[in-house]
């Protein structure tokens, strides 16, 4: 294969698209606001990328098995609330509560598989449950985040801003676990052709529980990293994360069905979404337009992907 063939190969284009969109957006920002091109500037622009990337990874696990999670935003809000209250007051109780949250996520996965329920409906319902519990734990915005979480999230690394390192670590760890281990291949296969996986003797129930628990675990990490940045919590702190996470996975080259996902792409997708906010501020456009602009970027990227797909077909 020559270099040119390699570059125009649809499979390569498909996997390069998320990185390309990120690079284009970043260069536009540097063009509009050259001062952003600094350690401090990048740190500021990308600081919220870590919780969003973690939530996006959580969503990606669910999308891998052809489900959709509409409760992840509320769930991150709940874990943030637990982190800023129970975990800060009494670490043992806090850890137990967070573990229970992960277990509950796994149980929801089991329920969805066992009763063959539509995940959208179940998770939409659960989003109100999570929000309700969060409001009970933390009726008004407040609480304090544990010092060690603040310390981790406020880490100063020389030369490369911390959010970029954190995002890279998340991306690589999940990439190895899901894309390179043999059980990871089986997990993805459950999204591609569940019947084939079942015929080969694997338990789909177990696969769903594993994927939902993994999503719950990353949801917890997302909530904790969020309060590490804000140092206080609010039940509604992460309401937007549900849509962010779905958009992030899709921007990163994932698909709604068929088990086609990319952890590295999803993290890059999350970074891209985070950057759009800063970009619009630099353009002096009101933050009210943020969601609309993010939607526009999503449409452009999806249109490009459709073009690549047509060439494949």
């Amino acid at each position: 294969m020559t270099i040119m063939e390699r570059i125009t190969n649809p499979r390569f284009l498909r996997s390069a698209l998320p990185l390309a969109s990120f690079a284009v957006l970043l260069s536009l920002i540097f063009y509009v606001q050259p001062r952003a091109m600094s350690y401090f500037g990048l740190n500021l622009m990308l600081q919220y990328a870590v919780p969003i990337a973690l939530a996006t990874i959580a969503q990606m696990f669910i999308l891998t098995v052809n489900d959709l999670d509409l409760s992840i935003g509320a769930f991150v809000g709940l874990t943030a609330s637990i982190g800023a209250t129970l975990l800060a007051d009494n670490p043992v109780v806090g850890v137990c509560a967070l573990a229970a949250c992960v277990a509950a996520y796994g149980a929801i996965g089991a329920l969805i598989h066992w009763r063959n329920l539509p995940s959208i409906v179940v998770t939409l319902g659960m989003s109100f449950v999570w929000l309700g519990i969060a409001v009970i734990i933390l009726p008004t915005p407040g609480g304090t985040s544990p010092a060690w979480i603040k310390a981790i999230m406020g880490l100063k690394v020389p030369y490369i801003p911390f959010p970029i390192i954190a995002a890279a670590v998340i991306a690589i760890v999940v990439q190895v676990l899901l894309m390179h281990t043999s059980y990871g291949a089986t997990l993805r296969g459950a999204g591609g052709n569940p019947r084939a996986i079942e015929r080969a003797g694997w338990s789909l129930l177990k696969i769903k529980i594993v994927m939902y628990s993994a999503a719950g675990f990353f949801g917890v990490l997302s909530g904790l990293s969020l309060i590490g940045l804000t140092s206080a919590a609010d039940a509604h702190i992460a309401d937007r994360y549900t849509l962010y996470s779905i958009a992030g996975v899709i921007l990163g080259g994932g698909e709604f069905v068929g088990g086609r996902v990319s952890p590295v792409g999803a993290v890059i997708g999350a970074l891209t979404l985070t950057l759009t906010g800063s970009f619009l501020i630099f353009l002096k456009i009101s933050p009210d337009w943020q969601i609309g602009a993010q939607g526009a970027i999503l449409i452009v990227v999806l249109a490009l992907r459709a073009l690549i797909k047509r060439r494949e077909g």
Binding site: R11, H180, T181, S182, Y183, A185, T186, R188, G189, G191, G192, N193, R195, A196, I197, E198, R199, A200, G201, W202, G258, G259, R260, E312
Partner: protein
């Protein structure tokens, strides 16, 4: 059921079969399209894990592909979804013959050559003989008679879920095999309707369609008032041709000419036929709804009149046509679909094997209705997989691989001829 002479004590499942060395190559592929070829090999070999599993899986599947299909051009890193259907089938077959922890005793191949070309099909059949000599058993399910006759040791003929013949392959030849497939115990047969002798071509042509895959330009022709049968094995282009006629209705395209309004009676009731949430009356009336509009709204009385008329004519068994369509039995739902087509202004009625799972009483009633309607000048195109139904047709076209391969007039029609044409191979 016993495997290796031992009864199965645990609950039988695919996993149990696999652990006893039984594999199956399915017709609808059981590969995961989002995984690579090597990863798909891992799915059925859980023992491929730990460090370097990908390399081992890759080597395993590559070696088997090289052995069965030399020159296959498939890479272990290829995503299965990116491969052509033929190559996917090759991966599926090669995967079934790979061996890791458990030994392999029996491979069941369900129509394995259907998506392979002549060369690869030959490679596969040769490999099957070779592996049989090596001690592995194979069950080859195929509708290509040549494959069965040339490569099998023993032939079992099945029809309607029963074994109808079982002999050594050497005792069969082509004709006796076809005969064995046709000669079934005939029970609960619907008596053949009296033959209708009628000159073809006295009435104008209303449908003329060349199937999309037809290479020799042969067309399906229907004259006004005829009942035309579309025969052959299931899903060999009959439904496709009916839909082609349906789409061409009213406007002519290059391949088909259709004179007059068309209605379709769906075969797959639940997917293509009934509107699950609607009443019987609404389900019957939907095809005619345009003629029942008054001041831009549906004329409830007209709808009710149509529904009641057809309840009488076709004997839909319900206390109230306003009940939900799903309150009816399968046969009566099908009657409602017939009423929908026959109650409309359609001159041409397309039937997509509509009698599947319908009881005999209903069938006979509907046959009579179809004949009566054809006497009145309606034209029917009737795709059916049942021989008895073809006896109702004035003229029959036999389909194979999307093409018309034979046409039989009512006098020429015999089950053997239909089967012969359905199985004929291009030499």
């Amino acid at each position: 059921m016993e495997i290796h002479g031992a009864a199965i004590n645990e609950k039988y499942s695919v996993a149990v079969a696999n652990s006893r060395g039984i594999r199956c190559v399915f017709q609808e592929l059981s590969l995961c399209p989002n995984l690579t070829v090597a990863e798909n090999a891992q799915i059925i070999h859980p023992s491929l894990k730990g460090f370097g599993w990908r390399k081992r899986a890759d080597a395993l599947i590559k070696a088997k592909l090289d052995e069965i299909f030399p020159g296959h051009g498939i890479d272990g890193d290829d995503l299965v979804g990116d491969l052509s259907i033929g190559k996917r089938q090759m991966v599926e077959i090669a995967r079934a013959f790979t061996v890791t922890a458990q030994s392999l005793h029996l491979v069941i191949l369900d129509e394995p050559t259907s998506s392979l070309d002549v060369v690869t099909a030959g490679q596969l059949l040769a490999y099957i003989r070779k592996s049989v000599e090596g001690g592995t058993s194979c069950i080859l399910i195929s509708h290509v008679l040549g494959e069965i006759l040339d490569y099998a040791d023993r032939i079992v003929v099945m029809k309607d879920g029963r074994v109808v013949a079982e002999r050594a392959a050497s005792e069969f030849d082509r004709d006796s095999l076809v005969a064995a497939m046709g000669n079934v115990v005939k029970e609960a047969r619907i008596e053949a309707h009296e033959q209708r002798e009628r000159e073809r071509g006295t009435t104008p042509v209303v449908v003329s369609a060349v199937p999309e895959k037809q290479t020799d330009g042969r067309a399906l022709v229907a004259h006004k008032g005829e009942i035309i049968g579309l025969a052959g094995l299931a899903s060999h282009g009959q439904t496709h041709t009916l839909l082609q006629v349906y789409q061409a209705a009213g406007k002519s395209d290059k391949r088909s000419r259709v004179e007059g309004p068309v209605a379709l009676v769906a075969g797959d009731r639940q997917t293509d036929g009934v509107f699950h949430l609607w009443s019987i009356a609404r389900n019957v009336g939907i095809r005619s709804i345009r003629s029942m509009v008054k001041f831009g709204l549906i004329d409830q009385e007209a709808e009710q009149r149509l529904a009641d008329e057809w309840r009488e004519r076709i004997k839909i068994k319900t206390p109230d046509m306003d009940n939900n369509i799903l309150s009816l039995s399968g046969g009566n739902q099908q009657k409602a679909l017939f009423a929908r087509a026959l109650g409309s202004d359609a001159e041409i009625v397309l039937m997509d094997d509509p009698m599947r799972g319908v009881d005999i009483g209903t069938k006979l009633e509907v046959y009579d209705l179809i004949r009566a309607e054809s006497e009145r000048g309606r034209t029917f195109l009737w795709y059916t997989t049942e021989m008895d139904e073809l006896n109702n047709c004035d003229h029959t076209y036999v389909f194979r691989s999307g093409q018309i391969v034979a046409e039989l007039s009512r006098n020429e029609l015999t089950e053997e001829k239909v089967l012969q044409s359905s199985f004929e191979e291009t030499a």
